[in-house]
Amino acid sequence: MNAIDRPRSPDLQVWKWHLTMVLSITHRASGMLLAAGSGALAFWLICAALGPDQYAIAQAFFRSPVGVALLMLWSWSLFFHLCNGVRHLFWDAVKGYELPTAFASAWAVLVVSSALTIISWAFGFLVVGGAS
């Protein structure tokens, strides 16, 4: 079967950089990061099922500097994808397409997802005292 000359998705380099397109590509990138994060979730659960020794391996990884950095990245990806996903659901309901609204909701997604990430980690470190 020959390759068909179908219309292609716009390549990244043809876009002028502006906030709403940055959020669009970040939504996809954060989704890809979260796919890796779900692999880590599976790894953690499987280690828990295998026994204390294997659980200790997972525990050591998630509490190492690399593990904590990854968890921070995944937590922000999760909050971003969650907030921007809700923004997408509003668009699916044909609400919020006007440009000023789209830019306002973009800023709201950035502020809320970053705030939730910072609050979560501050709570984790200060209140629960977990990641030490």
């Binding site: 989704g31 599976a42 659960l45 499987i46 999760l78």
Partner: protein
């Protein structure tokens, strides 16, 4: 009866007629993931992250947590492979490469999700 093949079929430009189902499945799993991911993040912060092995096993084994973890893993991997499918359809050229990659993503997602769900059930029911 119409014996003429539509031009879109002849030229392979037509839709596969599966787009709407994919679109709806992505939204349904997204809505399911809102409470599930918020619950899991809160649980990680409150209990799981500080728990030792015994604490984590006890947490996974509590009935509501077991149920929510199974749903979370199922919804996460289902939603994830739907998303990867769109990315591959957008950026991978060529029918066979595209089909093979999408099929591999779906099968690996199913494998990892099944293993994770089995792990949750094994912890919950002993094994």
């Amino acid at each position: 009866m119409n014996y003429r093949a539509p031009l879109r079929t002849v030229r392979h430009y037509g839709a596969a007629e599966h787009g709407t189902g994919h679109w709806i499945a992505q939204r349904v799993s997204a809505v399911a993931l809102i409470p599930l991911t918020l619950w899991f993040t809160a649980a990680l912060l409150y209990t799981v992250f500080t728990a030792n092995y015994t604490g984590a096993i006890a947490w996974i084994g509590r009935p509501w947590n077991t149920l929510a973890l199974v749903l979370l893993v199922g919804a996460v991997f289902y939603h994830s492979q739907l998303g990867w499918q769109v990315i591959v359809e957008d950026y991978v050229q060529g029918f066979w490469a595209k089909t093979a990659i999408i099929m591999a993503i779906k099968l690996v997602s199913l494998l990892v999700a099944a293993a994770a769900i089995l792990a949750v059930l094994r912890v919950a029911f002993g094994g």
